[in-house]
């Protein structure tokens, strides 16, 4: 999994693109993708322009194309659909390499392919140049609902734990001579996924207990998320009992001195 630093899609670097504030990058990505999607399918030079912009940013960020291109495979399902379009859609017939296809379908296929590729490339660039934690902080700054950000941060935190668990189950299966070669063995894989779901669900319950044990009451205090600079003075809203608690948790006078010596 994500070796060393950051997440699996992250390409470590210190360029201007890496250092740009995450919330600006997210805003730029979203508006860029919206513009791309709104572009008419036959505006070929404009798409070339978009691609040039992305390549320029990639060069600026020192992210090599050999890193980005293999990761484009996520769009394969769209590519398959795009390739089918000229054959399936209705319209004026044209001859391409001796095959009769629909001209409108051909243009739509190009549009889908171009928009998809540019969109995925732009997202990959964002992922390559932004740490997951910075991304979450950026979303928070953009006032994405706290619950959504929380869910995403849990996903980032536990993705590796869950894939690890999946890998251990895989090793345990193979060690007992199992090979997933043909669809007859799919039920076993389905049961693995079921077991993984239950384990993950139970882990969720244990995590929740551990959070309760540390005084969790439904909101993650903003102060816990803020960095070391003490920019947290605005933190922790929505806690009616806060003042009352703070008065109870002041360090014991004798204890402060003791702790420094510890």
């Amino acid at each position: 999994m994500g070796a060393g630093h950051g997440h699996a899609l992250h390409f470590h670097g210190h360029s201007a693109v890496h250092r740009a504030p995450a919330h600006l990058k997210v805003l730029a990505l979203v508006s860029f993708v919206l513009v791309v999607v709104a572009t008419p399918n036959h505006a070929y030079p404009v798409f070339a322009g978009y691609a040039a912009v992305l390549l320029g940013i990639a060069a600026l960020a020192h992210v090599p194309l050999t890193y980005l291109l293999p990761r484009l495979v996520v769009e394969v399902p769209f590519v398959v659909f795009a390739l089918l379009l000229p054959f399936l859609s209705q319209g004026d017939p044209v001859q391409v390499l001796g095959v009769t296809v629909s001209q409108q379908g051909l243009v739509a296929a190009f549009g889908l392919l171009a928009k998809g590729t540019i969109g995925v490339l732009a997202s990959l660039l964002l992922a390559a140049t932004t740490e997951a934690s910075a991304l979450l902080l950026g979303l928070q700054r953009l006032r994405v609902p706290a619950q959504l950000v929380q869910i995403m941060s849990f996903m980032v935190r536990y993705l590796e734990v869950v894939t690890d668990e999946l890998r251990r189950m895989h090793v345990a299966r193979e060690s007992r001579g199992f090979r997933a070669r043909d669809p007859r063995q799919w039920p076993v894989l389905a049961r693995t996924l079921g077991a993984l779901f239950i384990r993950t669900y139970e882990r969720g319950e244990r995590v929740h207990l551990a959070m309760l044990a540390r005084g969790y009451d439904g909101t993650i205090p903003a102060a816990a998320l803020a960095g070391p600079t003490g920019e947290a003075s605005h933190g922790h809203v929505g806690h009616g009992h806060q003042a009352h608690v703070a008065s109870e948790t002041r360090p014991h006078p004798g204890r402060a001195a003791r702790e420094v010596g510890a």
Binding site: L136, S153, A210, M211, R214, A224, A232, Q242, V245
Partner: protein, 257 residues
């Protein structure tokens, strides 16, 4: 004696499915003590621990008896203060550490108590210092080794300045070096400790006093050495020492004893 840090009186509890886990448990732990809670699987240790900070209680099943922490009864109206006083360290650090960085995770508890800014920062660094993990403050927890994660898990609770630290199987899955490092950390802490464990040598090393829970009852409460050398008691409650381990010799040869 003064008010015990932990005062469990006549605690009984049955889960909603009818399974009765505790049958009238009495337990007192005084300030500064380190107590091992021993017992076979299914003895009710976890159920007891979950009662200490109000995660389980009368409303999650049928129960009787009371738990007081430094005189404060465990009840809904002061749950947050109870959870500050009782620091629970769970067995799997991946359950305990759920935030993106070590700093955010250690800050989670004290921030829930209302601390912010520089005071919160100080609390985080002090807690990490006690477990020797200050160098890892900005690392994501899942990039630490298992032993390091266990120590950070202890720090997340220490940051709340608990009056009693409750550890569930602290030595499980640790390699011998990490196990010893954790023992050093626990010994250096100036805090009352209740340690649930199957690791009897660890209990002997760290806890002068041991309480044996079996089938939901306290069946022994004595100096750890006496418990571990009482063969009849040990066999009756499915407790076994590791092969070749002689508690009396271990105590004789330990630098402290």
């Amino acid at each position: 004696m003064s008010t015990p840090v932990l005062d469990v009186a006549g605690l009984a509890f049955a889960y909603p499915d009818g399974h009765q886990a505790l049958f009238g448990v009495d337990l007192h732990v005084h300030a500064g003590e380190r107590v091992a809670l021993l017992g076979p699987n299914g003895a009710g240790k976890t159920t007891l621990v979950m009662h200490l900070n109000g995660i389980l209680g009368a409303d999650s099943g049928t129960g009787a008896g009371s738990v007081r922490v430094s005189g404060l009864p465990v009840a809904k109206e002061h749950l947050l203060e109870i959870r500050r006083r009782v620091g629970l360290v769970f067995q799997d650090p991946d359950d305990q550490l759920f935030m993106g960085t070590v700093r955010a995770d250690v800050a989670f508890g004290p921030a829930n108590l209302g601390l912010t800014g520089a005071a919160l920062d100080r609390r985080v660094m002090e807690a990490l210092e006690k477990v020797g993990m200050t160098a890892f403050v900005d690392r994501p927890p899942h990039h630490l080794s298992f032993g390091q994660r266990r120590r950070v898990a202890v720090a997340t609770v220490l940051a709340m300045e608990p009056e009693i630290l409750v550890l569930d199987e602290p030595s499980s899955n640790l390699d011998p070096a990490s196990r010893r490092e954790l023992a050093d950390v626990l010994r250096s802490l100036d805090v009352t400790v209740l340690m649930v464990t199957h690791d009897l040598p660890y209990a002997l090393e760290l806890c002068p006093r041991a309480v044996v829970l079996s089938q939901g009852r306290v069946v022994a409460d004595a100096p750890t050495l006496d418990v571990l050398t009482d063969e009849a008691l040990m066999t009756r409650h499915r407790l076994e020492l590791p092969w070749g381990f002689d508690p009396a010799a271990a105590v004789r040869h330990s630098p402290a004893g």
